[in-house]
């Protein structure tokens, strides 16, 4: 079975993220096994609970949430990159990470890469 892993390095307000979302959704609709999306560099900003994008603009985070719920798509966020951008999960009181994301490290990227037939970066 062909498997796909995706790396997102663009911010939630980047137009390239729309391309990533469109691509991932097309793969899911086509029945391709998307084993996970790994958010790295500015991509980790998707996991910031406090991000608020004007309602007439593309709601990237809401779309990731929809895909995560409809397809049980694993969304991994690199914690080192997240903490560097003020997105912490060090205490329950200071929980900034959106619950749709799994807190991961680069080891998860190794795991996804070795399992995937194809890795695509946005």
């Amino acid at each position: 079975m062909k498997t796909l892993a995706v790396v997102v390095t663009t911010s939630p307000y980047s137009h390239l993220t729309i391309t990533a979302l469109t691509y991932v959704e097309a793969a899911l609709v086509a029945g391709i096994n998307v084993i996970g999306v790994f958010f790295y560099q500015d991509g980790v900003m998707h996991a910031n609970e406090d991000i608020s994008i004007a309602s007439d603009e593309y709601q990237a985070i809401a779309h990731w949430q929809r895909l995560q719920q409809e397809y049980q798509l694993p969304l991994h966020v690199c914690i080192t990159a997240a903490e560097k951008r003020g997105i912490a999960c060090d205490s329950i009181d200071n929980e900034k990470i959106n619950q749709i994301f799994t807190v991961s490290g680069l080891g998860e990227l190794v795991e996804l890469t070795t399992k995937a037939s194809r890795l695509v970066q946005f």
Binding site: Q41, T80, L106, G107, L109, V110, T113, L119, Q121
Partner: protein, 132 residues
């Protein structure tokens, strides 16, 4: 051109491992360090990883640079640890060096200077590619 609508899968050779393309200069952004972190993690998990330097990324290999002069932690020093992570395949694009009038003098050993066609052939031998 054939008129058939059949989708054929090209017969690629067996590809393995991860290729990381470094295309950014070392001290203007965090891309080089972000790429290095991935390379070292793959190395420590004993996964095959090769490094490609192209465009402004070739500046990451040039000797006698000091990031501390611009208050940046000099992650380039960590390149000397590649052998301990079994990262042996390090390729640099010759044309990118020529375009920038850079000598083939690097701060680590074992860098392979390649023509554009050799560079792309080496890249093609990998299953996965990440670009920073």
């Amino acid at each position: 051109m054939t008129s058939t609508n059949q989708i054929t899968t090209p017969d690629y050779p067996k590809e393995t491992g991860l290729a990381i393309i470094n295309s950014k200069a070392p001290f203007s952004s965090n891309h080089g360090k972000d790429a290095l972190d991935i390379a070292l993690i793959f190395g420590s998990f004993e996964q095959k990883v090769s490094l490609f330097f192209q465009g402004d990324g070739v500046y990451q290999l040039i000797a006698d640079q000091d990031g501390s002069l611009v208050s940046i932690k000099d992650y380039l020093k960590t390149f000397s640890a590649f052998e301990f992570y079994d990262i042996e395949d390090i390729y640099v694009c010759q044309q990118s060096l020529v375009n920038r009038q850079l000598e083939e003098v690097f701060h680590i050993d074992g860098v392979q200077v390649q023509t554009s066609s050799e560079f792309s052939a080496a890249l093609n031998a990998h299953q996965h590619v990440l670009r920073f």
